[in-house]
Every structure is written in structure tokens, then in C-alpha cells.
């Protein structure tokens, strides 16, 4: 029972982290029909930002967390401005290739600037302390991560469903020209989408770092690709789907390792098998709608 509870909290916190990142993919896909392959690298830069803030400049953790989220969000906006916006009217494959380029550019930039040697993500005791819960010892983080993720998702849902910005984002996701005819500023709305998606990746990166405290220039690659899988699993373009996809993937991975420890080496491969199965069986994902192609 105790170990099961541990697996459960583990799965929930990993799933929540996947969800936070998957939302970035799905939101950007919604407005640009683009798989933002640089999302994982934005996540990586965010981890380095925390490292330098906490371990080198010795700033208080709350200052550096906020700063990191802002830096990450702005980096997402910058990538869109420089690498995606000029290609918006180009064939879709061009912008996709541009996204891959941004991804490799950031990885290599990080190697040049920070070196390839792994660094240790600094620990913040408030989050990383272990506490006892129902007879088992659980890192406080495992409880906090799902709570923080849930709070952010509620805020995001409110933003999308109830605010003017959210209305604009939904309109842009559906029909560029019709949205512009309503007086919606396309560039602004897309920038806001990148800002929010990247900010969530920033929060995800901070918590990921405390959970798996190792940083290197390719640290974002695997979470990035897995969260892309989570977004596809849930139905890309659908925010609720991204959350469900993230949780399903998190649970599946942890439970695979928990129930068949011998298979734990195939943990990452499992995510890709899942992707292939989804694409074969239900390409629109769990919550995916039949979207009519934009003209």
C-alpha cells in the first residue's frame, strides 16, 4: 500500500509536468498549425536560468523562479518573432524546419555558453524536503507539483474561456482572416500564445529540475518529445486533451516501471510505441475533433 501510494504520487507529479509542457505544444499548434520543436530547448534554457540565478548569483528562490518564468516566456516570444513569423505565409514545412533549426541552435548555444558537462540543479528545501504522509515518506514536491499544475490549468482555462484574450486565441486558432475581420491583432494574439505556452514550460522546468536535478544542453530533448507525444495522444490543438495526454503518459510510464521493473529500461521506448499506436488507431487523439483544414 505504501509503495503504491508512492507510485501514485510519482505518476501524478510526472503526469502534471508532462501536461504543463504538452499544453505549450498544443496551444502553438492551435494558432500556427506548427509543432514547435524548440519547446524542449526553451525548457532547457529555463533550467539553466534557475541554475545561474540560484547557484551562481545566489538570488532568493522566489525571485529567480519568477525571473525564470518571465525569461522563458520572452524567449518563446522571441523565437516566434524571429524564426516563425517571417515564414507564416510560407508552406507549412518551412516553418517546421525553422522550428527544428531553433531547437538545434539553442542546444548548441547552450553547449557553447554553459559547456557540455552536466550541472546539478540547485535544491530549494521548501520544495525538495521529504515529508511523511500516511506512513510513507514522500518528497513534498510530489504533492506540490500536481497542485501547482492544477492551479495553473484552472487559470489557463479561465483565460481561454472567459477573457477577451482567450476569445481572440480561439478565434485565431479557427480562422485567421475571420479573426482579423473582427479587429483581432493576429501578431499580438500569436505572441501571447507563445508567451503563455513558454511560461508554463518555465514552471515545468523549475519543478522538473528539482525532481530530476541534472542539467545539460540536451536535457530538454526527451521531455520535449515526450510531451509532444502527450499532446498528440490527447488530441493536438485541444488543451484539455494535452492535460489528459500528459497524465496518461505519466501514469503509464510510472506504472510500467512499478509493475514490471524488468521493463524499466524500455520506459522511453514505451512513449514512442504509444505514439505509433495512437497514430494508427486514433490519429485525432483521445479528445481530438475532426478539424476542417483551414483554407
Amino acid at each position: 500500500m505504501g509503495t503504491f501510494l508512492q507510485h501514485l504520487t510519482n505518476a501524478l507529479s510526472l503526469g502534471s509536468l508532462y501536461a504543463l509542457l504538452a499544453i505549450g505544444y498544443t496551444m502553438v499548434y492551435g494558432v500556427l498549425r506548427l509543432i514547435n520543436f524548440a519547446h524542449g530547448e526553451i525548457f532547457m534554457i529555463s533550467m539553466y536560468t534557475v541554475f545561474f540565478g540560484l547557484a551562481i548569483f545566489l538570488l532568493p528562490w522566489y525571485v529567480i523562479f519568477i525571473l525564470t518564468i518571465v525569461v522563458t516566456a520572452l524567449l518563446g516570444v522571441l523565437a516566434e518573432r524571429l524564426a516563425y513569423r517571417p515564414l507564416r505565409d510560407a508552406p507549412r514545412i518551412s516553418i517546421l524546419i525553422s522550428a527544428i533549426a531553433v531547437s538545434y541552435f539553442l542546444q548548441n548555444l547552450a553547449t557553447v555558453l554553459f559547456g557540455g558537462r552536466p550541472l546539478t540543479f540547485p535544491q530549494v528545501p521548501l520544495f525538495t524536503d521529504v515529508m511523511a504522509l500516511g506512513g510513507v515518506r514522500i518528497p513534498r514536491l510530489s504533492i506540490l507539483v500536481p497542485l501547482i499544475a492544477a492551479a495553473l490549468l484552472l487559470m489557463l482555462t479561465f483565460l481561454i474561456k472567459r477573457t477577451k484574450t482567450g476569445l481572440a486565441m480561439r478565434a485565431v486558432a479557427r480562422d485567421y482572416d475571420a479573426a482579423r475581420l473582427m479587429g483581432i491583432d493576429l501578431n499580438w494574439t500569436i505572441a501571447v500564445t507563445f508567451f503563455i505556452g513558454s511560461a508554463l514550460a518555465g514552471v515545468g522546468a523549475i519543478m522538473w529540475g528539482m525532481k530530476y536535478p541534472q542539467i545539460n544542453p540536451t536535457v530538454g530533448a526527451m521531455p520535449g518529445i515526450k510531451c509532444f507525444i502527450a499532446a498528440v495522444l490527447g488530441g493536438i490543438g485541444n488543451t484539455a486533451g494535452a492535460v489528459i495526454g500528459g497524465l496518461v503518459l505519466g501514469f503509464a510510464e510510472i506504472m510500467l516501471v512499478a509493475l514490471w521493473p524488468a521493463l524499466s529500461g524500455y520506459r522511453d521506448a514505451f512513449a514512442f510505441v504509444l505514439l505509433i499506436v495512437v497514430l494508427l488507431v486514433k490519429p485525432t487523439g483521445l479528445m481530438g475533433e475532426k478539424t476542417t483544414e483551414k483554407v
Partner: protein, 247 residues
């Protein structure tokens, strides 16, 4: 309110879609632009509403040159387009679609007022206020598209093929709505392939042929103009007219 287009030219790649057209829309009028497929009607409208880059020429609205302005600024000035094929947001409710029409406005009380106005104009929309727009019939979607445009309090309402793909009875409704909206003080610029209906409702009309204005005049005059009749109204010239069967 006055819109003047002077020597407007638009190209797509190397293809000249508009070869220098000039036209005017006067306050309180219904002006129509008719022409065959590919004549440049939609291009003209897209240029006015800021969706299409202009090669040369000027679009002047109330003595202000609005050529090349972003779509948002043009909406802000009171020029609103109902796009071809309605383009309502299918996964938003009728109410949300109407509210998004008022996107640039901030006065909540006025927006509510206009919502009431649109609902009296289209009682069907009021019945379906919480329904997803994608589940409406074609005619209802067209009403919603018009209602959505009205929510911005336009001074000039531009309509691109409002009767396209609709049943004849619904088309009649749409045209009576155009008249009604115009009587309420909104100037209308209308594009139609249904030249007959458009010229009947319009005060003034222009005939567009492969990127140039071929003819212009009051709607009634164009309706009886032999070359318009032959090309757009499906009637043959009198000289080779055969005895018609009684209907």
C-alpha cells in the same frame, strides 16, 4: 461616411487581379459590385478591409487614406466585412460569435444594447443563443455573420456573396435584411453573383470585368442594360429573342 477607391491595383504573383479600378460609396447608400468569377470582386473587398496587400492606388475613407492599414485599424474606423462563406466560428456559441464582433469595443452597456438590436433583427439567433454556431443551418449562419458584423457598430458594411449556397427563400430574407440594415443608417457595399437580386436592392452598381470596371450606373439602369442582361442576368438580346412560353 464616404469611401473612394482610386486606381486600385492588386497582383497575385504575376497575375493582375485588379488593373486600376475606381469607385465611390456614398453615405446611406447600397452600392453593389457585380461580375463573374475571377473578375476581382473579392480582391477589391479584401483590399478595402486590409486583408490584401495593394500594389498601387488609394483607398480613401472620410478623407483619410486607409490603404495598407492593418485590418484592426480599418474595423476600428467602422468598415466591417461579412466574409464570403460566412466564416462564423463553429465551435463558439451564437452569443460568443456576436460578442467577438464587438471585440474592439469596451463599453459593456452599449454592447448589450447592440446584442438586443441584433436579436430583434434575427429572432432565430436569440432562440439559439447558446447553441454552437457550427450546428446552425446555412441561412442562420449567414444571419449570424451579419449580426456579428453589426456588433462592431459599422458605418460601412461590406458583404461578400451573402447569398452564396443558400436556398432561394433564405436569399430573399438576406436581401430584406440588407435593406433593413441600410434603412437603419448603415451604408452597404455588396458583392454578388446573383446580379439580379443585387441590382434590385442597390442604389448604384458597378460591373467588374477581369480586373476593370466595365460599366456603372444606378441599380435600376443596370438591371435593364442590354449588355448586363446578356452577361449577368441570363437574358438574351431582344433582336434574337424567341417567343417565350407562358410560365
Amino acid at each position: 461616411m464616404r469611401l473612394d477607391i482610386r486606381d486600385l491595383r492588386v497582383s497575385y504573383g504575376g497575375i493582375k487581379a485588379l488593373k486600376g479600378i475606381s469607385l465611390s460609396v456614398d453615405e446611406g447608400k447600397i452600392v453593389t459590385l457585380i461580375g463573374a468569377n475571377g473578375a476581382g470582386k473579392s480582391t477589391t473587398l479584401r483590399a478595402i478591409s486590409g486583408l490584401q496587400k495593394v500594389e498601387s492606388g488609394a483607398i480613401v475613407y472620410n478623407d483619410e487614406n486607409i490603404t495598407g492599414m492593418p485590418a484592426k485599424e480599418i474595423v476600428r474606423r467602422g468598415i466591417v466585412m461579412v466574409p464570403e462563406g460566412r466564416r462564423v466560428f463553429p465551435d463558439m456559441s451564437v452569443r460568443e460569435n456576436l460578442l467577438i464582433g464587438a471585440f474592439l469595443r469596451t463599453n459593456k452597456a452599449q454592447i448589450e444594447e447592440d446584442l438586443v438590436y441584433v436579436y430583434t433583427l434575427f429572432p432565430r439567433l436569440k432562440e439559439r443563443t447558446w447553441q454552437m454556431a457550427g450546428t446552425l443551418s446555412g441561412g442562420e449562419q449567414q444571419m449570424l455573420a451579419v449580426g456579428r458584423a453589426l456588433m462592431s457598430r459599422p458605418k460601412l458594411l461590406i458583404m461578400d456573396e451573402p447569398s452564396l449556397g443558400l436556398a432561394p427563400l433564405v436569399v430573399r430574407d438576406i436581401f430584406s435584411i440588407i435593406r433593413r440594415v441600410n434603412e437603419d443608417g448603415i451604408t452597404v457595399l455588396l458583392i454578388e453573383q446573383n446580379a439580379n437580386a443585387a441590382l434590385r436592392v442597390a442604389h448604384y452598381g458597378y460591373v467588374l470585368e477581369t480586373g476593370s470596371i466595365a460599366l456603372e450606373g444606378p441599380g435600376r439602369d443596370l438591371l435593364v442594360n442590354p449588355s448586363v442582361q446578356e452577361a449577368y442576368l441570363g437574358k438574351q438580346r431582344k433582336k434574337d429573342k424567341k417567343p417565350q412560353e407562358a410560365k
